[in-house]
Each structure stands twice: as structure tokens, then as C-alpha cells.
């Protein structure tokens, strides 16, 4: 600016006073809009307290590791789904990539490939499946819901045909197993690492900002010369890789590979975790830390109630009710800020 137009003190000529409530209510809502994970963290903490009160020391002790194993796979998948949801897409095939990837490791390893190389290749192939999803969605203009739905069936069929329905055993020695999900804490540590990496990506890189922009206002993103196609496709690729990684970790943890494992059930849990964590299904807002805590909330329900001795059939009622409550909390936080868009009336008489 050649001439500095400095604002006079006090009320300037261009006074745009924000017409908002003051005080605590506005602060909470503002906090939520900047940190969407708050609702999920809150309800997770409350749930922990509930189970601590009900089951006492049983909830701690060895159960913490078990709880970690419930949470970890859903958390990793939820991180990937959150990223995609934020940029306005979704991946319904994540659960099937999860099922396929460990079998790729197994078959490659049977062909005498070193197990570490086989693992890397399997994850790359999973990423490639994500790439295909992305290319079809972006360049053929097929809604990602449809693209990934079709891919999900395709992968399910491939897994069944290739394995002939038979279960398998994950390869690898003790050290491999310990690191890749076999140890008590191993999968949870992987999950936390993924959360940290992706939270960094979202907040501290242009890729993250653009992911939000593409989901929040596609036109604005185009206008700002953001390469929308690249952002979306990369997010699909990352989701694919995460899904493959999770499948391998879980397969090693359980020491069994099952062609019918994963599937839509685990994908829905992941999406539910992401949404509970504050990620909007409409795109443009969300949080991977929230996705982690959404997974914590969901899986603590399973673990805690199993601990209490509740039977399977009651679970679904409880899970359904809990998801509804979690979403209501999210929405309430969001809508606390009443009247934010209302213009103040002009003062009477004197000049404005």
C-alpha cells in the first residue's frame, strides 16, 4: 500500500461491530468451532467416569490394554474417514481394503518375499485402491458414495475369490508381530501416531487448509487457485493406505486373517467415530483428534458393557442411543451461538 491508511483511535469510520453475545456462552461455541473435538472428549471422559464408578478397578488394570485394542483399529480408520469427510467425500470401501491388505502380505510372503517388503507393498496397493477411488470420483464425476460403494463390493468379491473363503495366518516373526499389532499396546501406539501425523497435516500444512477449503466451499477453492483434484485424490490415497495398515495390524494382533472380516461394519463404526468427533458429513469442518475420541467413545461402550456382563443384543440399543446422545451434544455446542448473524439496528436520529 503506497499510502498508509491508518485507523483512527476508538470507533473508526469503518466500524463493523460484531453483533454477538458476550460472555461464556459465546466463548464455548467459539471454542467448539475452532476445536471440534471438544464434544467427543467431553463425552468420552464422562463415559470413562461412568464405567470407573460401575466396574471400579476392573475397568483399569489389564482392561486398559484391552480397551486400547478395541479402540485402535476404529481410530485409525476414523482418522482417514475424517480427512475425506472434511474435503467433502467419503470412502465406503475402507473396510474391504482392511480385509484384503493382510492377505496380500500373506500371499507375497508365501512367494518368499521378505515380510517387511510384503507389508510395504500391501500398503502401497491399498493406497493404489484409494487412488482409483479418487480418480473415478474426481475425473468421472461419480459421487464418492457411489464410487466407493461399488469398490467395496468389488473388493469383497476379490477377497473371497482369491482366498476361496478360507482363513489365513499372518506371516512374520516375533519382532514383526510385536511391532505390527501383536504387542499389547502396539496397535494403540500406531493409532496415536496416525492421529498426531494427520492432526499436524490438517493444522500446519497447506494440504490441510486446502482440504478444509475444498470441502467448505469448492468454488472458493477453485477461485483461490487451489488444485481441487489433487487435494481430493491425495485424501483418497491416504485413506486407502490407512485402511490397509489397519487391516494388517488387526490381522497380526488376532493372529488370524479372515476374508469376511472388516467390511461395512467396521467402516460404519469409523464414520460414526469421525462424526461423533465433530466432523461434519456435509464437509468443510472436522477434526482428526475428534475422530480419535469418537472412536474412544464408541469402543469404550463395547468394552465397558462387555466388562459389566451385558449381552450382545442389548448392545445395539445402547450403541444407537449413545450415538444419538453424542450427536445431540455436538449440535448443541455448535448452536450455542444464537443471533450471530443478526444485524444490529441503526441508532435512532443521529448519524450512523
Amino acid at each position: 500500500m503506497s499510502t498508509d491508511v491508518s485507523a483512527p483511535q476508538g470507533r473508526s469510520r469503518l466500524d463493523v461491530t460484531p453483533p454477538t453475545h458476550v460472555g461464556g456462552v459465546a466463548r464455548v461455541s467459539a471454542l467448539y468451532s475452532r476445536h471440534r473435538e471438544i464434544a467427543a472428549i467431553l463425552i468420552s471422559v464422562l463415559l470413562f467416569i461412568y464405567f470407573l464408578v460401575r466396574s471400579g478397578s476392573l475397568f483399569l488394570g489389564s482392561n486398559v490394554a484391552t480397551l486400547g485394542q478395541f479402540i485402535a483399529p476404529i481410530a485409525i480408520l476414523a482418522v482417514g474417514e475424517a480427512m475425506l469427510l472434511i474435503c467433502g467425500e467419503i470412502d465406503l470401501s475402507a473396510g474391504n481394503v482392511y480385509a484384503l491388505a493382510p492377505f496380500i502380505v500373506m500371499y507375497l510372503s508365501q512367494d518368499h518375499l521378505p515380510v517387511l517388503l510384503a507389508t510395504v507393498l500391501a500398503i502401497l496397493i491399498s493406497a493404489f485402491i484409494g487412488l482409483v477411488n479418487g480418480l473415478i470420483t474426481v475425473y468421472l464425476h461419480v459421487p464418492s458414495f457411489v464410487t466407493t460403494l461399488g469398490m467395496s463390493f468389488l473388493l469383497l468379491g476379490i477377497v473371497l475369490v482369491v482366498t476361496n473363503g478360507a482363513t489365513g495366518t499372518p506371516p512374520g516373526g516375533n519382532l514383526y508381530a510385536d511391532i505390527m499389532g501383536g504387542g499389547n499396546w502396539s496397535e494403540l501406539i500406531w493409532a496415536i501416531c496416525m492421529v498426531v501425523i494427520f492432526a499436524y497435516l490438517l493444522k500446519w500444512t497447506r494440504f490441510g487448509t486446502y482440504t478444509f477449503a475444498v470441502g467448505g466451499n469448492l468454488n472458493a477453492a477453485h477461485e483461490a487457485s487451489i488444485n481441487v483434484a489433487r487435494i481430493k485424490i491425495w485424501n483418497f490415497v491416504l485413506m486407502g493406505a490407512l485402511a490397509g495398515l489397519t487391516g494388517i495390524l488387526d490381522g497380526v494382533r488376532v493372529a488370524a486373517l479372515d476374508p469376511t472380516s472388516g467390511g461395512t461394519a467396521i467402516m460404519f463404526s469409523a464414520v460414526a467415530g469421525a462424526v461423533i468427533g465433530g466432523t461434519s458429513l456435509a464437509g468443510g469442518s472436522g477434526s482428526v483428534i475428534g475422530a480419535f475420541f469418537g472412536a474412544v467413545f464408541l469402543e469404550t461402550l463395547y468394552d465397558g458393557f462387555t466388562l459389566e456382563g451385558v449381552s450382545e443384543f442389548a448392545f445395539d440399543i445402547i450403541i444407537g442411543a449413545a450415538i444419538l446422545i453424542a450427536m445431540v451434544v455436538n449440535i448443541r455446542f455448535q448452536r450455542l451461538r444464537v443471533g450471530r448473524r443478526f444485524e444490529e439496528l441503526e441508532p435512532e436520529g443521529d448519524e450512523a
Binding site: 478360507a166 482363513t167 488370524a256 479372515d258 472380516s261 463395547y302 462387555t306 466388562l307 451385558v310 450382545e312
Partner: protein, 376 residues
Amino acid sequence: MTSESSGQSRISRRQLLGSAALAGGGLAVGSALGGVSPAFAAAAAAASNPYPSHPTWTFTLVNHVTTSEFFVPTRYGAQDACDLFNCKYQWVGSVNSIVSEMVDAMNAAIDAKVAGIGVPVIDGNAFIAPTNRALAAGIPVIAYNTAAPTTTAAKNLQMAYIGQSLFQAGQLMGQQILDKLDKGNIVVFNPSPGSLNLQARANGINDVIKKSGKPITVDNVASAATLAEAVAAVKAYYAGHPNVNGMMCVDTLTMVGIIEVMQQHHLKGKIVTGSFDTIPQVVSGITSGYVDFTIYQQPYLQGFLPIMELFLYKLSGGLNIPSSVETGLSLITKSNIGQFSKYTDRYEGSSAAQKVIPMSGPISVAAGDYPPTQLS
């Protein structure tokens, strides 16, 4: 349950490690209480219960198809046992045989320090570690409904198996086929080839037929786990093989498809058919002549006995070691289908009411049903 002896040679029953009396005793107690409401039964049990008072123990039954119709009588059996012995049971696991869900549920139960665990070992490797963990924590583990395969039997340390010997059940079916057919070609439908329990049965069938040396060819064909797809699979096969001499299935749902095809093409009495378990369609199929035989695995006992054995183990501090029980080599044909078709009852899962079911008449036992006492 007894099986009819037709005078022809049969596979003798697998050696029981425990005593069949254990099974008989359980049934006797159950039927003694028949005809009264569950609450009253519980009260009566408590009143006449000889055992000392104890905290209400929880037993966890993990399951691979928690919503399956087949396990409804299993859950009745578990509930009745719990009512008798003043315990609680918990039914958790997976809806769709997802092993990691079952392992997670089992681990949570171990953390909850339950009094005992029953689990169908549908995978040879996945349950090794959780079982060891349970045993290390002093929690007894019994396998039920599906046993670990022989290849991993050494590493699977579940204390007993209550259920059907799957391979032998297949052999029993194979034997029935040999009794009825000298040559020709048959099809064996399997909804999930490669899965532990069903594949074992299929292997048993193929094994017996191959060893007999008779010129019978066996087509092993995949059907499906849902009814509509299973029916479609059977129809597709028959369309390509209209001269098949026998149609078997190693599950029970596929038999519905087989019956439908037989009705469509008027095959009653013309081909050999055999199934497993006693869902209503199979029962009426046997009565009406479409199904030659089915092999029953007593789902009620698969719930009752594990609870009972775990309870006795816990009560006695480990003195009453769990016994394996063969629940499943009962051959059901038209001659003994009567009890199944006449009543809807708790033991078949078709009714929740507790009642006494009258005996049908003389009891027929085949030679070799119970293991002889070895003197030397």
C-alpha cells in the same frame, strides 16, 4: 437323544472322555423342572439347590454368529443352567464370524474376571493367546460348538470341547450315502468352503466315500450363508446337473434350497438328500419325505453343559475338571422325527415355554453308541 439302528453297520460313537451320564444327568434335572415357569423354576431350584451360597458368578459365552437362529436353544440351555445354579451368563462376540470381534470380547471378559468362558474355536490361531491369558488369570475356558482343528490342537489349550465332532459327523453322513447309493454322482453344498467347522464335515463325507472304493463322484460346491443366495446356488447347480443322484449340505439353510428344487422338479424319493440340524423346514422335509436324514447336534446341550461344567469347576476350586461331550452324532430320519415335528419346544428353540415332553415309546440304541468298558 437316541438314534435309530436299522441293523446296518454304523460308525461307532467317538470315545467320550467324560461320561454320558453327565449328559443324561443334566437332561434329567432339566426335564424334572419342565412344565413350570422359569421364575418358579429358579425359586424351586434355589430352594432345593444343594450347593452352598456363592456370589452370582458370570460366565461368558462368546459366539461367532450371535444373532443366528441355530443358537436360540443354546441360549435357552445356558439360561436354564444359570437359573439352576444361581449364576449369570453373558452372550457376546460377533454377528458375522469376525474373529477380531470375538477376541476383543473374550479379552474384555478376562479383564472383567468372569468365572468362566465358553468359546467356539472358529479359527485355529486366534484363540490361542486369549485362552492362555484366561488360564493364567485362573479363568477356565471350554470350547463349544466348534473345536480347534487337529493341526493346532496342541497349541489350543481349551480344557474341554462340548459339541459335535465335525469330521466324524461328515463321515456319518458319508456312511448314510454309501448305504443308499452304490454308484453315481452327488453334490455336497458348503456355504463357506474353507471355514473350519463346515469344511471339516465336508472332508468327512469325501473321506468315507473315497475310502469305500465305490464309483461315486462328489461335487463340492459353494452355496451361501443367506437363504436367497443358497437357493439360487442350488438351482444353478441342478440346472447344469439334472441327473445328480444325491444332494447334501453341510449346513442347514441350503437344505431349504434343495427342497425347493426337488419340489420344482418332482424329485421326491428319486435322490438321496441329507442335512445337518433341525430347523423347521428340515423337520417337515423329513416328515414329508424330501429329506432322508439329518444329523442333530443338540444345540440346547451346547449351552447347558458348558455353563454347568464351568460352574462345577468354579464351585469346587478346580476339582471337577470339565469333560468333553460329544453332542452331535444323532442321526434323525423319518422313523424318529416324530418328537421333533410334533412339538414346539425350548430344546429346539421353537418355543420359550418350559414344558415336559412325553416320551415317544421304546428307546432304540445302536450298538456302539456308548463306549464299552475296557477290562484289559
